[in-house]
């Protein structure tokens, strides 16, 4: 029995849709799930059918930031959510905009935010559907995170969620976990150039991996790579305050990174940094291959 899914797009760029379309096993997925509506995938109903009626479905996926002023087919997106949230088993916020407001929080629509959160702040509305919601942040969300969450819902798995309603299975880790540059991080070597294999990008190039909750280095993108593996800093796209400014620059106060790895106190960090900086490891100072 296929599960019926409504993909509702609010104030969005369709980035999550593009990410989802790169899911390598989409055919298998579409054998198990049916979109009653999706803006770019053939589906059974038109947008008008969806907003004017209450078509039976099991999961409501919301992509994009939400504002009371924003409409789809002349109906407020809030009203559409209110209507469908009553009949579905689960509501899933797909991406950082739908979860925290993301970049569209800065849009012209009034009071733009995520479904339950305005950045880190918990909102009072939609309290009645709080228990039904799963948040999948990411700009865009990793397609495997989305698909595997939907399968977990289909199989009635009891998902353990963090404080932002994100499944711990995917968000209890940090992007730092599994990063191939960890040795450079440990010994405070940041001789990084974009696209190269060498160097940690946390110290000078804005990498947010040590304090960003996501599985990007554990569940690779397109099954082969991640930003940090390719030589680009993690931009913290799964976090409530995404997007920060100056993404390629580490914000520092007198040389000390403003944001420290999760759970590390400032004194502890500085003590460790003082010790590791004393090492001078030649192997990490030079190129890995063509030296």
């Amino acid at each position: 029995m296929k599960m019926r899914v409504l993909w509702l797009s609010a104030i969005a760029c369709n980035g999550n849709t593009h990410s989802f379309l790169n899911y390598p096993y989409i055919e298998q997925f579409l054998n198990d799930f049916e979109f009653i509506y999706h803006q770019v995938i053939d589906s059974a109903y038109s947008l008008e059918d969806i907003v004017l009626n209450q078509i039976p479905c099991d999961i409501l996926l919301i992509e994009g930031a939400i504002s009371r002023e924003f409409q789809r087919a002349d109906v407020s997106v809030i009203e559409i959510i209110e209507s469908y949230s009553k009949i579905v088993q689960k509501i899933v916020t797909v991406g950082t905009c739908a979860t925290f407001g993301g970049i569209f929080r800065e849009s012209d629509y009034e009071n733009t935010s995520g479904l339950h959160f305005n950045q880190e702040k918990s909102l009072g509305n939609f309290q009645d559907i709080l228990d039904k919601t799963v948040s999948l942040s990411g700009c865009p969300v990793h397609p495997e995170v989305l698909v595997n969450t939907l399968y977990a819902i289909k199989k009635s798995v009891n998902l353990k969620l963090d404080n932002f309603l994100r499944p711990k299975e995917f968000y209890a880790y940090t992007v730092h976990n599994g990063c191939t540059r960890n040795e450079y991080f440990e010994y405070k070597v940041d001789n990084h150039k974009f696209g190269e294999l060498e160097g940690c990008m946390y110290y000078d190039h804005g990498c947010q991996a040590p304090y960003t909750h996501a599985s990007c280095n554990k569940i690779l993108w397109n099954e082969v790579n991640s930003k940090t593996r390719a030589g680009l800093p993690c931009m913290g796209c799964t976090e409530p305050k995404f997007p920060k400014q100056n993404l390629f620059e580490t914000k520092k106060n007198m040389g000390i990174p403003e944001y420290l790895p999760v759970g590390v106190g400032k004194r502890t960090y500085l003590t460790l940094a003082g010790i590791t900086k004393a090492f001078n490891i030649q192997r990490l100072q030079k190129k890995l291959f063509d030296d």
Binding site: K252, N253, M254, G255, R267, L270, G274, K277, A278, F279
Partner: protein, 196 residues
Amino acid sequence: MSDKKQIKKEQIIQSALELFASKGFYNTTIPDIATSLKMSVGNMYNYFKSKDILAKEIIKHISIYLGKQLREINEQDISTKEKTRKIIEVYFKTASLKPEMIDYFLRIYLSTREVFKDGCEGMICINEFVTEIMIYFEEGVKCGDLREQDFFSAFGLFMGYLGGMVFLKGENILPKDLDDYIDDITFNIYKALSVE
């Protein structure tokens, strides 16, 4: 380590510090230190296996002593300018109450590098002190009082100035007491580091 052994260790550190300050590092021997404490040389080696090890323990001891006082200042809810003044006061107070400590730092730790090259690389042995200075700078920048810059340009300005003043005092060149300079030094350092 038992309390008794710890106390003895601290006594050795203090005596060694005083001897190093008065006679110089190379002119002071382990038997000299043992004699000053009325200990046998053999017993001394139960505490410190060599003069070099003792030398490293002493610098750690000084770093912990100063770091503890700076941490108390950092944890106070006062302005960066007030913190600046208090750090200078603590440094000068140590220079007058325990001159051997600052003297050891300036004359032995900074100028006898070969003794400290293994085991005291970088800032490992003065970590507690440097960490607190870093936190003072970091919090100053964060609250908008101090200008963001490389740590060492700020550190050199601050500690070089204080070290220089204590050195001048030690050479009997300063016409006035160190405390008489606190107002001007606070003004100069803060003005040099602040965003204004």
